[in-house]
Each structure stands twice: as structure tokens, then as C-alpha cells.
């Protein structure tokens, strides 16, 4: 699964850093039908987890109310350079991850 992280720059120690995350996923609601009239099974990313330097910084539990190709913007306050790792799982048991290196500049 494709995903992209964008970070605000420069990142300063002790200053909140803006994280924008886009994940490619259909987020099937389970309310739609295919051309043969059978229900397309619900398949959404139900949990998404972001960690920075091994510590959880953001967690999301999602339902079918989140639009396809989910987008999230949130903030993380880094105290040192490190790696932001985002992992998620969907209803079909598929999981994905994306990471971004963060260089903290001295303020």
C-alpha cells in the first residue's frame, strides 16, 4: 500500500512538528454493491499507529466514516532526531507502514 508523509521543516527541538499523512486505501464501507449486485465487503483501515523514536505519538481507530485514501494531519514534538514510523492494519488483515527520517536542527 502506498503512503506518503510530509513534515514541516525545519524541525526544531521542543517545537511541535506538523505531520501530514496520506495513505492509499479504498476504505470500503460495506454499503456498496458491485455490478452483479453482491455486497462489497467492508474493508477499512481500523487502526493506525505512529511512533517516534520507538514511542507512540499518535493513534487512530477508524471507521467507515473516514474518506477513501485517508489523510491525517497531526503534531509531534520531537526531542531529538529520529524516525517517524506509521503502521496501519485493515479489515482484510493487510498491513502497511511508512517512515520518515527527522533531522532536528538546533534552535
Amino acid at each position: 500500500m502506498l503512503a506518503r508523509i510530509q513534515l514541516s521543516s525545519p524541525v526544531r527541538r521542543g517545537q511541535p512538528m506538523e505531520v501530514r499523512l496520506l495513505v492509499q486505501h479504498p476504505m470500503e464501507t460495506g454499503f456498496r454493491f458491485d455490478v452483479l449486485g453482491t455486497t462489497i465487503p467492508k474493508n477499512v483501515i481500523h487502526t493506525l499507529h505512529a511512533s517516534y523514536g520507538g514511542r507512540t505519538v499518535f493513534r487512530a481507530r477508524l471507521g467507515s466514516g473516514v474518506a477513501a485514501n485517508p489523510y491525517f494531519q497531526f503534531w509531534v514534538m520531537p526531542d531529538d532526531s529520529g524516525e517517524l514510523l506509521v503502521q496501519w492494519q485493515d479489515d482484510q488483515g493487510q498491513s502497511g507502514e511508512v517512515s520518515a527520517k527527522v533531522e532536528v536542527t538546533r534552535a
Binding site: 466514516g65 474518506a67 503534531w75
Partner: protein, 141 residues
């Protein structure tokens, strides 16, 4: 789609819109007995959304985000969607700012509510009204 059809959605189809649910039914599973105070939470959405498939929603909570006083949980609720709980988010003092944004599906014009729980366990709420011209859950035939 089935649920939408059962709820009778869509003015375009000459049917009544899905009924709105009572807020207390929606927040009680999170807040328990407590009624969230109408303060500190600001929800922003476009006033008019061309379609309900992707509506940008941003939530800002007035909080210093320190270890002693921070927002730990944010819940997005819709009172007209077939599944009213849109998403739940966990934040903490490491967030630095109590702000987040996402894009949601909305089944018709309605009020979107954000609940926030601060580290002292209290719940806060904020709402935004969205006019949705084309509701989600009407696609696919």
C-alpha cells in the same frame, strides 16, 4: 448503500433524509454519565460541501499540552451517518499542539461533533454545521 436506502436518504430521490440521532446516545459510550462541556473544542469544516465523500474536518482544542494538562483523546461523531463514530484519536503531551485534521464521509447535511477528553478525565465538545449537497452512501447502484 443498503443502510442508506433503509434509512431513506437523499432529497434528490424525493425521499426523507436519514434521521438525526440524539447526541447523548452518541457520546454516552465514551463519556459515561458525564455530559461534555461546550468549550475549548473548535471544529472547522467548509460551510458547504459539494459532496459528502471527502469533507475536510479539522479539530483544535484549547490546551497547553503539558504533562499535567493535555488532551488524551479526540472522537469525531456524526449524527446522520449509518456508523456514527467516524474516528478516535489518541494524543498526548508529546503532540505539542492539540490539533488534527482529516477527511470524512458525511451522509447528508448535519452537525459534526468532536469530543475531547483532557488528562483530568473531563470531556469537552465542539460542533460544526455542514451543508452537504450530494451525500455519501448514494454511489454504486
Amino acid at each position: 448503500m443498503l443502510a442508506c436506502a433503509l434509512l431513506g436518504v437523499g432529497r434528490a430521490h424525493g425521499q426523507a433524509q436519514a434521521p438525526t440521532l440524539d447526541w447523548s446516545l452518541l457520546y454516552r459510550p465514551f463519556t459515561g454519565e458525564a455530559t461534555p462541556s461546550k468549550a475549548r473544542v473548535t471544529v472547522s469544516t467548509p460551510r458547504l460541501a459539494d459532496n459528502g465523500f471527502t469533507v475536510p474536518v479539522s479539530v483544535r482544542i484549547d490546551s497547553p499540552m503539558t504533562a499535567a494538562d493535555h488532551v488524551q483523546r479526540v472522537v469525531l461523531l456524526s449524527n446522520r451517518n449509518p456508523r456514527p463514530v467516524i474516528a478516535e484519536f489518541d494524543l498526548g503531551p508529546w503532540s505539542g499542539k492539540a490539533e488534527l485534521a482529516t477527511r470524512v464521509r458525511l451522509n447528508g447535511s448535519q452537525v459534526v461533533m468532536a469530543l475531547a477528553q483532557t488528562s483530568d478525565g473531563r470531556w469537552w465538545q465542539g460542533t460544526a454545521e455542514v451543508e452537504v449537497t450530494e451525500s455519501a452512501c448514494m454511489d454504486a447502484s
